[in-house]
């Protein structure tokens, strides 16, 4: 099963455009397992505490959640466009701006998330002795909610940092900010977006018609 697309490898590492992409995809495979453990814990909770999950989900802010999802989807489209622009000679001037836009949307997402967390903190929805809801399992729901969105947030911060650095590097025509690095960073960003795509229904839309 020789990989058809990979040109017969020169023994010099790093010259083949696909190595970076393949490396990032293998890393994303490990990240799927990394978040996967949390989704297994979530599914355990949802099957064993349906009432707690529904009650907990009703107390999340669905408006902010939906807006955040839209922001992240847009940022994903923006970075895809940036990669496309980088490959086209005449559109290359847009790349740096699109990368900056993506990073800005990422920051907006984190700001909204911060507001949401603050609201929940004020409503005593943070697991602890003073936890507001008394349905069995609601505390686990919010515990997992904070762990999952927290871990996702950390990945967002890494993504924003990478995109910011690449945007500056690209605007200064740096050698390390070429199509290959952009595509790898874009893949990572799309992955973080896909994780949120699954977090959104699982955390916000468990039982809205209650």
């Amino acid at each position: 099963m020789t990989a058809a697309t990979l040109t017969d490898a020169p023994t010099e590492p790093g010259l083949d455009p696909d190595t970076g992409k393949l490396g990032m995809w293998v890393f994303l495979a490990s990240e799927v397992l990394f978040f996967g453990g949390l989704f297994v814990a979530y599914l355990y909770g949802r099957t064993h505490f349906p009432a707690g999950w529904a009650e907990g989900s009703r107390h999340t802010d669905v408006l902010l959640g939906t807006v955040n999802t839209a922001v992240l989807l847009t940022s994903s489209a923006a970075v895809a466009l940036a990669v496309a622009c980088e490959e086209d000679a005449r559109q290359r001037r847009w790349t740096a701006r699109l990368l900056a836009l993506t990073a800005a949307l990422g920051v907006a997402f984190l700001v909204l998330k911060g507001l949401e967390w603050h609201a929940e903190w004020r409503e005593h929805l943070v697991p602890g002795p003073a936890f507001a809801l008394h349905v069995a399992g609601a505390q686990q729901f919010f515990a997992l909610y904070f762990v999952m969105t927290g871990l996702h947030g950390v990945h967002m911060i890494c993504g924003i940092a990478a995109l910011g650095v690449l945007a500056r590097g690209r605007s200064r025509e740096r050698a390390w900010a070429r199509a290959r690095q952009l595509e790898a960073a874009a893949l990572y960003w799309h992955f973080v977006d896909v994780v949120w795509i699954f977090l959104y229904p699982l955390l916000y839309l468990v039982d809205r018609h209650g």
Partner: protein
């Protein structure tokens, strides 16, 4: 000239796919939101996950360019999901068939005096 037009049409086509994918994603998000307000019982979770699956597929297929990626890259994309499904499936065998007789566990603290019975933590 032809090469330039081909380049622009290439980029134009790419831009169009990205734009349409973006719109589709937003619509699917709204659909997912709407489906949550319908009383579907367990169907809510299924609908939520199916729509999320479609959105994830769009992002992977178009934005992450799996469409024009080689077999190896697609294999790497699917490998993580496959391993996760193994974890879910086999631990699911245990959870689905485990006859559980639960008992509430009391944290072994000192016996509190009868009148100040604190509500369960």
């Amino acid at each position: 000239m032809a090469e330039a037009r081909a380049a622009t049409s290439g980029f134009a086509r790419e831009r169009r796919t990205i734009a349409s994918a973006w719109v589709a994603l937003l619509l699917l998000m709204l659909a997912s939101l709407g489906s949550a307000y319908l009383r579907l019982g367990p169907g809510n979770m299924v609908a939520g996950l199916v729509i999320a699956g479609i959105k994830g597929a769009i992002v992977a297929w178009l934005f992450m360019r799996l469409r024009q990626a080689g077999a190896l890259i697609r294999l790497a994309a699917v490998a993580g999901l496959g391993a996760w499904c193994l974890l879910l499936a086999l631990s699911g065998v245990d959870y689905a068939t485990r006859t559980l007789t639960p008992t509430p566990v009391q944290r072994p603290q000192q016996l509190l005096p009868a009148q100040a019975a604190s509500e369960p933590r």
